[in-house]
Symmetry: D2
Subunit: 388 residues, 4 copies
């Protein structure tokens, strides 16, 4: 069995992956949102489910909230609820894509009233961050246009910068703004922050507390994502990851499901660039469990990240550097692939057992009865989804 060195184990010890509260609610496509028994009805239940993921893996110490989906009357109470369950509240995600006012834009809108409303929403998010103890305000800009000519892309870009400056100015000293980019959807002609270059240019104009968020599903087909990881780390602007995977568009599948080797390459660049266990670079999931069970889907996800991190740490970087220096293409690639093809799963099972965890978290969760319990308990009410 492949053993993992003390250094690698120590590094893995420090890994934490933030879970999105919305992954525990229902999600789907424009065609249909299928439901699952036991789906949470409120933020408290979502956090309870997220805590299960952490309980079985010790990999998921925090939960990201989405406002307004996770609005509660008393955030201090929600925070205590989380802490009682062994997790903390993490990133606050704003939402400017579900109000009728935002049909044609929010932070980029030409109508000052609507734009101010969107800015105010972010001020509210910052207030919530103070109550939840969250550091990061994540802005995914769903804005854009569907038809050429519909909007003035340049003016929208300028208004975006102005809006972001106002939001940035409201941040506390320890708080950050992370700006996500996305290739397309829900807008189908232009998106106001479609690529890392735009996100970078926008946040660079704000200041040190503004960073880029890289969602692994938000790129054009064929994009070399690990290159972007490298570049953003080099520029000091990689603030966070939204991990997921995709075969086609923004499929939001389980991280590592579609192209495990790509995930390996991405995490290797994180390691190489000093982004692992670096507080500046947050690891988060952003996935949709449209048809699979949600809690085990999240357990599978954090295990995938951990396993791939272990493989990335196994790369013999001295041997790699030597082969690179020698222009020995096949040898360098072989060093790289050797780590990828190494089966780290038994060693990680041991690692878990040494920490009092089940060797197989998926089986342990299935055997725990939690799923049938919530399916039985959570009857009535409205299952949480993207509208709540």
């Amino acid at each position: 069995m492949t053993t993992l060195s003390p250094d690698i184990l120590s590094t893995l010890e420090g890994q934490g992956i933030e879970l999105p509260s919305w992954a525990f609610g229902n999600s789907g496509t424009r065609f249909r949102v299928f439901t699952t028994p036991g789906t949470p009805r409120d933020p408290y239940e979502k956090i309870a489910d997220a805590a299960q993921v952490n309980a079985f893996t010790k990999l998921a110490p925090s939960v990201a909230l989405h406002i307004p989906w996770d609005k509660v009357d008393d955030y201090s109470d929600l925070r205590r609820h989380a802490e009682d369950l062994g997790v903390t509240l993490g990133t606050i995600n704003s939402n400017t894509f579900q109000d009728e006012d935002y049909k044609f834009g929010a932070l980029t809108h030409h109508d000052d009233r609507i734009r101010q409303k969107a800015i105010d929403h972010h001020f509210e998010c910052i207030d919530i961050m103070h109550a939840t103890g969250s550091r990061d305000l994540k802005i995914w800009l769903a804005e854009g246009s569907n038809y050429p000519g519909q909007g003035d892309m340049r003016a929208r870009q300028d208004r975006l910068q102005d809006s972001l400056q106002q939001i940035y100015a409201r941040l506390g000293d320890e708080q950050r703004l992370v700006l996500e980019y996305k290739f397309f959807e829900p807008a189908f002609y232009h998106t106001d922050v479609p690529d890392w270059g735009t996100s970078y240019a926008q946040v660079a104009a704000l200041g040190d507390k503004a960073m880029v968020c890289l969602d692994t599903g938000h790129h054009a087909p064929g994009t070399n994502i690990e290159f972007i990881v490298m570049q953003l780390l080099r520029l000091g602007k990689l603030g966070s990851f939204d991990f997921n995977s995709r075969f086609y568009a923004d499929d939001d599948l389980i991280v590592g499901a579609a192209d495990p080797f790509q995930l390996f390459r991405i995490i290797f660049e994180v390691v190489r660039g000093g982004g692992l266990n670096n507080p500046d670079v947050a690891f988060m999931l952003d996935q949709c469990h449209n048809i699979e069970d949600k809690i085990p889907g999240q357990i599978r996800s954090v295990l995938n990240v951990q396993e791939m991190t272990a493989r990335a740490l196994l790369v013999d970087r001295d041997a790699l550097a030597a082969a690179q220096q020698a222009n020995d293409v096949l040898a360098a690639n072989a060093v790289f692939m050797d780590a990828f093809y190494t089966d780290v799963r038994p060693a990680l099972a041991s690692w878990r057992e040494e920490r009092g965890l089940a060797a197989d978290p998926m089986a342990a969760y299935a055997a725990s009865g939690y799923q049938s319990k919530i399916a039985a308990d959570r009857v009535g009410g409205t299952q949480a989804g993207w509208g709540a």
Copy 2:
């Protein structure tokens, strides 16, 4: 002003483009369905709106229905309603993607009960077709899987053929089955009918009354769609078009909006292959007006198809053939582009005026007061969308 020859005008005279009833209801993305005032609440109102499109253009003589969204108690009554408004009921579209039973498949499902339910749904559609006088049963197979290993793709393909055979056997003598293919969505790993080859192989095994439906938004990036049009016409299996356009995925934008030159090339191949005004090849729209007004959106669409048809008919095919024979690449391309760049709009405006239509149907509709009337009248009830 460019004039259109009597031959071209006569050809255009015969053109009819079927409208989808659902284009008049609300639609959106997985993130949000925005609403518009005046949206129909039932199939009768959808047909009334569709009839407006025809009234202003004489290009849209029929309306496709979607079952169960357009279920009514009395299809004969709906048919009379349509005919009173000057349109007919066209293609019946089945739906096997919105019932909880169909979460993992319908016509391909391994569970015989569910598969039979899906087959029975198509039997019901055929019954409706007899009542509505519809010729075509269109099957869009939304089925597939999200994760490698989730399904047995081969067994699903075999079950699909069996299901289709049962449906095919139920068709009346004058009825047809058209099988649509789609690259991806709502399934994100594999789709059971992902490409024209699969649709072709499936319908070829059924018989002469089974044809392929080509939706212009259902291909991989970069696909040469007009080549597929050519090939399906050559193989005698092009049954119908779903026209729309896209920049990225299945964006369902107004036909011709994203790449007008592609639409030109597609229609040119239709002309070249004898598919224009050929009853075997149905022209339909399948679009989503997520943010734009719906009735004018449909008017714009049929005008786009008509204008592009006029341009395609303008290609000097003798000159084209001569340049092709001479291997004169630039000359052949020039003949082709000359037709595309010709402004046919004034001639078509005249054509409309000669038929008692407004020269500018968009302006005429806007001036008609219909939009404000339905906005005022259609208060209360539930606006139609993809669930109804």
Copy 3:
């Protein structure tokens, strides 16, 4: 260490992967063909290099030839040369893309003289096949057009069918024609056989001895290739593979290098569909070692195919079927991924040692001195490339 069952080992015993002679010559991009010391100067030297790959792996018993690049005066002599080195001559690949006459087409050309010349070239290839003992005539149709309007796609398709019929009629009883498809390149607007559907329609019209060749690098971005493998096996028309890999277009990288999980999924479908060790389905490589060493590049490639085949054979198909039947998405995917993540390399090293091979063929080849020997010996003459 993971052990491989006797059944799996026995299956692996039967595996043979055909090498392309041209992989041992120089190749490159339109920008530059870089050279390597020791590159063969003629077909005899190419075969000698190919035999090295087989000597170290016992996985590569045959070599495909490309005509005219591999033309020799005496094919019987070349055959003896191969057999003396322990390999056989395999598929004959025709070439209709490098003669000035073929600038605008060959088997599709409107000029009868040129089309007959292209057909005659295939007759010559069939004659060579009799001399070399080859079964398969592989036709990659590089033809198409660069500009809309340049060619009559429909007429070209009809002429193609006519040409293929003439070639097909010349085949011996034991010979086959395999028709490759390719998304684009060298033509940039339309390609005459761009997709599996076209290849399938063309060969289905010929007869049982005509099959489709699937090159893994010849698809649109995002295409689910294993689905096509499944479909062609289902239709009885998968004649052969050209293995390689790509990140972008037809990159012709080492098989498994860009997306190992995709290779796993492809081979799993081959296994599931009965295509493994099935004489009807030929495994071939078609790669370009533009910057890496050629012989070790080929060794790496056949090892990649073998390793991935072992992983595909490890899939617990009973457990997979059970999870599929239960609609347990995560369990089914887990069964699938478990095989992929299993490290089969130590077991295959043992397998090799039991057969008298070196455990590590890459290292053994490097230590053999062959590379330095050919670098020293092959001085003068013209290194082989795509022109010879």
Copy 4:
């Protein structure tokens, strides 16, 4: 006939599009470089051909050179030759992709000797610029790697910055450095400057005389190129265009041939952002006439740019802004499309005739006899291609 306003005509009067000397030489794919009679054998003949394009269009006043392909003994003499023919020498393009030393990199190479050689090559280019009177040094970075692990992407990026700084420091006061980006090819895994973000980050670190070059064929599928144009103009870093078009990859087809509407959108953003007739933004072509005639191919190209510029200038920007302000999606799009669909060709033919040019430059060139003259004269010698 659509008339063009005095303002538009005056704007068009100022338009100049630089031609690439290499467009007059042979080019092709990795499979074949086809030849054409009359192809230039040296830089003098290339410039003579380029001057023909200008003579018939008055749109192409300068010619870009490529070093070493266009090396001559006496650049002053070449400059006089150009000026005698009515054109000037423009951008100098460096080449670091055809020397055996550059197989694994040039400006990014880990070997100091090779990197210095590449830097020195750019110093030589700057010297040539002084002799030719050129302002811009264009660097297309063809460097990258084919296999994961092959290179250290981060270290290469840092070395690139260092190399560029050295080159930048050598620039004269009136000279600029423009850095081109490209999605892929000739490297197939990673490219050192793959996207506008990387080019922007690199040149922003250099200074005001460093700008980004946008080649319209160098993006991932689906990329909204006009958005990038907008953004680079907004950031003050759009230095130049390489115009061409593509259906698939970097096809290098005639500008406007593949997607004329995209070209319209791009030029509209240039107009909107103040980039038209702005000396900071150079318009250049970079195309390959693989199968079509070269001089008429270039004439067609500059006409395409001029025609599309005229259409972009026709957009009623007040009406557009009003529709945008009203959130009238269809009206805004209609204003946009109205300009695109307007046939400006007759007005431009008149414009030409008023300036003493032939109404139809393609026909006039064909009738001029130049093509048959060079076909007859240029016998012997070696036709120019990408190697010279």
